[in-house]
């Protein structure tokens, strides 16, 4: 739980980069049918009698707090329940449309072959183990609860009442017990063998066998064989799965495969983002440069224009002054000539008297 903000952001970056690198190796790009030898549980809904022995065993094995009503109180079944932090598994009762005894269905984590919770978790707190169970590592969980949103079966729950170390909790398929060679708690407790534990491949074979032996008593479908890309928990039933609250709209594609095409765009976007930004940067830089150049040019031309204008003006002025000078000179000459002529005339007028 102790994770610094810096580290968190760093991991996000790492995930982003990882996504760009791994590319095709991502789940969903090939047909995955589960790990060989993976284990699972077959729930024969037609055998379940709603005794809640599985709930009791689960409570005991996982050391959960005891519920308000005892496990042999059948009134609990009147209400539709979901998994909680204190009940990793619940049994719900459904009306039998064939006018017979009600049908009971056990709800718990289906331990998908390609789990949505695993693909939604960006810190890899959930992991699909090779053996079958989907296991949770509380030490890396950041409590984002994406897994709860992602799960198509609404299984993971969150310890909202724990203010300091809240965890996401769900059925573990009793992974620690399985490791020790024991049966999952619920399977061991079931008095009617409505739950059968074994290799998933064997369970599928067994389920098909049961359906073909008693074709009137079962719907010819194993729920979980292909749903959401296949689940480790499998179900066979005598009534339609949709009549006992099981989603039939999930399709056969696993969640990672569904999100893969959309999420594969993320690395592309992530990859393109720097290029885009660099482009933007480059463009703005170029624009600045161009503007600078234009400014310079404008100044130059302005200066030039001003220069030539001045020159022409000067030339004109010079010419004009020259003309004026010439004119003045000419006038002066004229006046000089006129003055000389007048002087000569005057001289001529006065001179004869003096001589006489």
């Amino acid at each position: 739980m102790s994770i610094s903000r810096r580290e968190f952001l760093g991991r996000i970056g790492a995930v982003g980069i990882g996504a760009t690198i791994t590319g095709k190796a991502h789940a969903g790009s090939k047909h995955f049918t589960g790990n060989p030898d993976g284990v699972g549980v077959l729930h024969d809904i037609s055998r379940c009698v709603g005794c809640r022995a599985c709930e009791e065993a689960c409570n005991k094995v996982n050391e959960l707090s005891l519920p308000d009503l005892p496990f042999d109180d059948k009134h609990v079944l009147d209400k539709k329940r979901r998994t909680t932090t204190d009940a990793y598994t619940v049994v719900n009762s459904y009306k039998n449309i064939n006018d017979r005894a009600p049908v009971f269905r056990k709800i718990q984590c289906n331990h998908c072959l390609e789990p949505a919770c695993v693909s939604a978790c960006f810190v890899r707190a959930f992991k699909k183990s090779k053996a079958g169970p989907v296991i949770y590592n509380a030490s890396v969980c950041v409590g984002c609860r994406y897994c709860m949103v992602a799960c198509p079966f609404e299984i993971p729950t969150y310890e909202y009442d724990d203010p300091f170390t809240p965890r996401v909790v769900k059925c573990t398929m009793c992974a620690p017990r399985i490791e020790k060679g024991q049966l999952p708690g619920c399977v061991e407790a079931c008095p009617k063998e409505a739950l059968t534990y074994g290799k998933r491949s064997d369970l599928i074979k067994m389920a098909h066998d049961r359906i073909s032996k008693y074709p009137d008593q079962y719907i010819n479908h194993i729920y979980g064989e292909y749903e959401m890309g296949g689940t480790s928990w499998l179900y066979i039933s005598g009534v339609d799965f949709k009549d006992i609250g099981m989603r039939e709209d999930l399709g056969v594609t696993s969640a990672p495969a569904l999100t893969h095409s959309a999420l594969s765009l993320v690395p592309m976007v992530v990859g393109l983002w720097p290029v885009f930004l660099a482009g933007m940067y480059g463009m703005s830089k170029r624009r600045e440069k161009v503007a600078e150049q234009e400014k310079e040019d404008a100044v130059c031309s302005a200066v030039e224009k001003a220069g030539t204008e001045a020159d022409s003006k000067l030339a004109k002025a010079l010419e004009q002054s020259k003309k004026e000078q010439e004119k003045a000179l000419a006038q002066a000459e004229k006046e000089k000539e006129k003055a000389v002529e007048e002087a000569l005339k005057n001289v001529a007028d006065t001179n004869p008297e003096e001589e006489s």
Partner: protein
């Protein structure tokens, strides 16, 4: 570098938020709106015009009984809407022949709207006059119409009412004279000729039944006699169907059928199996009508299904016709269905549904021929021989003597929580045998001592002292034999499975084993 990471993070967040918004909006749109619906048995969908082309508006859901009742109140009868031809009331509305789309539209719009307007002008409650009120897709009415069948009891009532004048209903068609005639001894059920849809001049069973039944009922009512229903609900209503009296003592239908016979296999065939004597009379009692077995006509089975299949019988051989477990007309198919009765289902629902190819089961039907010769020939000889063979067959449920059957079997405690179960072994066997005492089929097949024991003591030979449950059922999830339940599972599956199928309410934990006192 840090800046770039931050940017990446913000982009990611925005992307995810957008995705959630899109998903959220999408999820809101998939909510189901529940509509309250009114079930009715008289819903007729008027889509006659669709035969002449595509419908421009949605078809009209017409409530027939609502209109009949309204007419009745006004003292009017069927003639307001239905015309008659040669004394037979037509099923069509205001016409005898459909003459194209426009003609039909005019008839419907003209008559319906006119009448609705007139009625409302008179100040009475009336029907719609606006297009969408009739051509309405979102009608709240749903059809609860039940299919109606003519069973033995009804046949008896009708044959009594018409003083056994079979020709009142049964007829054949003369191709040359192009008319219907009655052929004595050729009677069959209506459906042999009148199929689901009208083919050439053979009108559909729906039309045939409505024309035939309703016209006769109307005439009988006109004669002020007791008659059958003329309204939809009379035959097709859920509650009304229950009110139809089931006659208990019914005189047997006479159609030259034998009391007993030997299943014919065809001429001059060297058979390797013993032939099967068949109690025809008893089987008539078990079935509601002849079609249960004679699904296409009242001929012998081997006419269409000889030893090797022929085209007329869809290449189904006699062996298949008699033994197909999934066919409801075959011997084994029908017998298998019988095992679903509560008295049988306790054991049989847990026994795999298949044909047991063993000598004793085969010999129950394929009885060995006796050496006696009959003085008579032909059909009479067959009748006599088959009757004698059937009589030779043991008709008794056999089981071991009471003292050989343990009275109480103690099933030890597997957990500390509960006390051992005291299983009333003998009482259960007695109940099972008593339950099927009056079932002839069960009697024939449980005549071996120990057959009844095999309901629980399965997968082992019939003996007086069969193995105990725990001899085979031990630890659960035996990897070598996954389909074999462990001891606890086996007990619960067997006991509770039987209780469930027999409708026994002992399903709680403490109904069988008491809690340990401490």
């Amino acid at each position: 570098m840090n800046k770039a990471k931050l940017l990446l993070f913000y982009f990611g967040i925005t992307f995810v938020v957008t995705l959630f918004l899109i998903c959220g909006l999408g999820a809101n749109q998939t909510g189901n709106v529940e509509q309250t619906t009114i079930p009715r048995s008289d819903v007729i969908s008027i889509d006659t015009i669709s035969r002449f082309g595509k419908l421009e508006r949605p078809e009209v859901l017409f409530l027939h009984d609502q209109h009949t009742d309204a007419m009745e109140k006004k003292g009017k009868d069927c003639k307001v809407c239905h015309q008659s031809d040669k004394g037979q009331m037509s099923q069509k509305f205001m016409t005898l022949k459909d003459e194209g789309a426009q003609a039909l539209i005019d008839i419907y719009h003209g008559t319906c709207i006119e009448c609705h307007k007139k009625t409302s002008d008179e100040g009475e409650k009336s029907g719609p006059v606006i297009c969408n009120d009739c051509h309405n897709v979102k009608s709240q009415v749903v059809s609860s119409r039940q299919p109606f069948g003519f069973d033995k009891s009804l046949h008896f009532t009708h044959s009594e009412a018409v003083e056994k004048k079979c020709e009142r209903c049964h007829h054949e068609y003369d191709e040359k004279a192009k008319k219907l005639f009655y052929a004595k001894g050729k009677e069959g059920t209506c459906r042999y000729c009148h199929k689901d849809k009208t083919i050439d001049n053979k009108i559909s069973i729906k039309l045939a039944a409505h024309v035939g039944c309703i016209n006769c009922h109307i005439k009988t009512i006109a004669e002020k006699k007791d008659a059958g229903p003329i309204k939809c609900r009379g035959c097709h209503g859920v509650d009304e169907q229950k009110k139809i009296e089931k006659k208990k003592s019914i005189t047997r239908m006479q159609r030259e059928q034998p009391d007993t016979t030997i299943i014919k296999i065809g001429q001059d065939i060297d058979t390797r199996m013993n032939l099967v004597p068949f109690d025809h009379k008893s089987h008539e009692e078990y079935n509601d009508n002849c079609r249960g077995c004679h699904h296409e006509g009242l001929d012998t089975c081997s006419k269409c299904h000889p030893i090797t299949g022929i085209q007329e019988g869809n290449y189904i051989s006699l062996e298949q016709a008699m033994h197909r477990i999934k066919a409801k007309q075959s011997c084994l198919g029908c017998h298998e269905n019988n095992k679903q009765q509560k008295e049988c289902a306790g054991c049989h629902s847990l026994i795999r549904k298949n044909i047991s190819y063993n000598d004793s089961a085969c010999a129950t039907c394929h009885i060995k021929k006796d050496q006696e010769t009959d003085s008579k020939d032909g059909i009479e000889a067959i009748k006599l021989q088959s009757a004698r063979l059937l009589k030779s067959r043991p008709l008794v449920i056999n089981t071991f003597n009471a003292e050989d059957i343990p009275e109480i079997v103690k099933i030890k405690d597997f957990t500390k929580k509960y006390q051992p179960v005291e299983f009333p072994h003998r009482k259960i066997i007695n109940t099972l045998t008593n339950n099927i005492k009056n079932n002839k089929l069960a009697n024939y097949f449980h005549s071996d001592k120990g057959t009844i024991c095999q309901g629980c003591h399965h997968n082992m030979p019939l003996t007086k002292k069969p193995s105990r449950c725990t001899n085979c059922h031990g630890k659960p999830f035996d990897e070598m034999n996954m389909s074999r339940p462990g001891a606890i599972g086996a007990y619960h599956i067997q006991c509770m499975g039987c209780h469930d199928n027999m409708g026994i309410d002992k399903m709680g934990c403490t109904d069988c084993h008491k809690l340990t006192e401490n």
